[in-house]
Symmetry: C2
Subunit: 234 residues, 2 copies
DNA sequence: TGTATACATTTTGTATACAAATTCAGACGC
DNA sequence: GCGTCTGAATTTGTATACAAAATGTATACA
């Protein structure tokens, strides 16, 4: 029972970081985390080292651990890097996957679809994360997967930062994303690397557009502004 | 003094793995490592977690740690992935580096040149590793650097596996590699991303050819083979 | 009011002791 | 001979106590 308590703690911390229940840059207190998960500080500190190695947190000597931050510079690099890595991973997944992994992928996509249908955005974000992480596993490329998993951490967090449940347009985009997932599964299953690459780039464009629309929304109507200006001048 | 003993241990273990002083797949004994570095097992185990996170070793629950293995499947993936990552890292380094880092790069290259001149292959391999790791830092891209550093671990180990100091052709190749390093430094300094990409791919071709020549050596003279066949048939 | 310094508190890092798991070796039956 | 069962020996994992470092706070002084 307590044998996998460490694993539970590790996975739960990953989840809390991805959900931004633990915010980017937040300090982590060893003592409280240890007691929360029913561990002593020794195994908890080992977990922190592993989380740091996977890019979830950063640690500084004598200065404690904090959740990986997400500043503007990081975002810029993220947008620059993601499409290349995603596309290559998908191509490799199509070429190298084993059929057993395909079932896991379909399960993850089912979970994504269900989460979106019931409007559970955090669950959808996590299912989406899992979907793309599985594609990473299917690529059988430990080098690129290291890059992918770090990208996915920030992607999942970004998606949730820039999510507006009220926006009706948003729902449309999610439906399209789900359709793209299905198409990508088919391409991987058929081992069509080129198609998988293409679909992944389309999927990326959709995701990027959604975030871009948030950062740069439709400008306010000009005449309203001029009216206000006019009144101010009186 | 004992404050950075942990750091010393971490760096030394990395070096020993890169030099294959600790062979791929070798089991690591916590107790002996701890006593060797004058640490207790607690901090040593934290170091092992960090090494695992960086891809130097792999750990299994209750089963100890072992140096990352290098099987044929891994090598295939390595050759498939390296050029893309290297090329992109070099381009980003040219675009994003700070001038302070350029000095470190030149220092590393000087160390590489000196090591090759005195025929110190292990030192040259490590200096070469450091040279390319610094280019990784200059790229300011934490995602791709994660992939790069894993590639470099295997690249450095592969290079030493497939090294024949006796071969006179080998020396020529090393001289060319050193020249390519110099050219790459200039391209990065001039912030010429396209040129840096190009030079890096040439550098990669050289490295790959050297290893390939080892794996698939010049075929034996045809007549010798046929003679042997003939004799066997008698 | 602002700064510096000494001291108390909190947090991080390490060593040691002990618990749990795995491995090894010899005995036993087939 | 070959597999496998059992218990010792080894190795890994965890908790606790203590040491070291950083942080916070109050006081003295300019």
């Amino acid at each position: 029972m307590s044998g996998n308590q460490k694993e539970i703690c590790l996975e739960d911390l990953k989840l809390r970081i991805l959900r931004m229940d633990l915010e980017p840059g937040a300090m982590l207190d060893e003592a409280s985390l240890a007691s929360h998960y029913g561990l002593s500080r020794t195994p908890l500190r080992e977990i922190l080292q592993r989380l740091a190695g996977a890019g979830f947190i950063s640690t500084r000597e004598n200065r404690g651990a904090k959740v990986a931050s997400m500043d503007v510079a990081t975002m810029r690099v993220f947008f620059q890097t993601a499409p290349m890595v995603y596309a290559n991973i998908s191509r490799l997944a199509a070429e190298n996957h084993s059929s057993r992994q395909l079932g896991d992928l379909q399960t993850a996509q089912l979970e994504f679809a269900k989460s979106t249908e019931r409007g559970d955005a955090p669950a959808a974000a996590l299912a989406n994360h899992r979907f793309h992480a599985i594609i990473g596993e299917m690529a059988h490329n430990p080098y690129l997967v290291a890059a992918l998993n770090r990208l996915l951490i920030d992607h999942t967090r970004l998606s949730q930062t820039f999510y507006r449940p009220a926006d009706p347009h948003e729902e449309q985009l999610v439906v399209r994303a789900s359709e793209q997932h299905d198409a990508l599964i088919s391409a991987i299953e058929a081992r069509e690397g080129a198609l998988a690459t293409d679909l992944t780039l389309q999927h990326w464009d959709l995701s990027r557009d959604r975030i871009e629309r948030f950062v740069r929304p439709d400008p306010l109507p000009v005449d309203v502004i001029s009216m206000k200006e006019h009144r101010g001048a009186v």
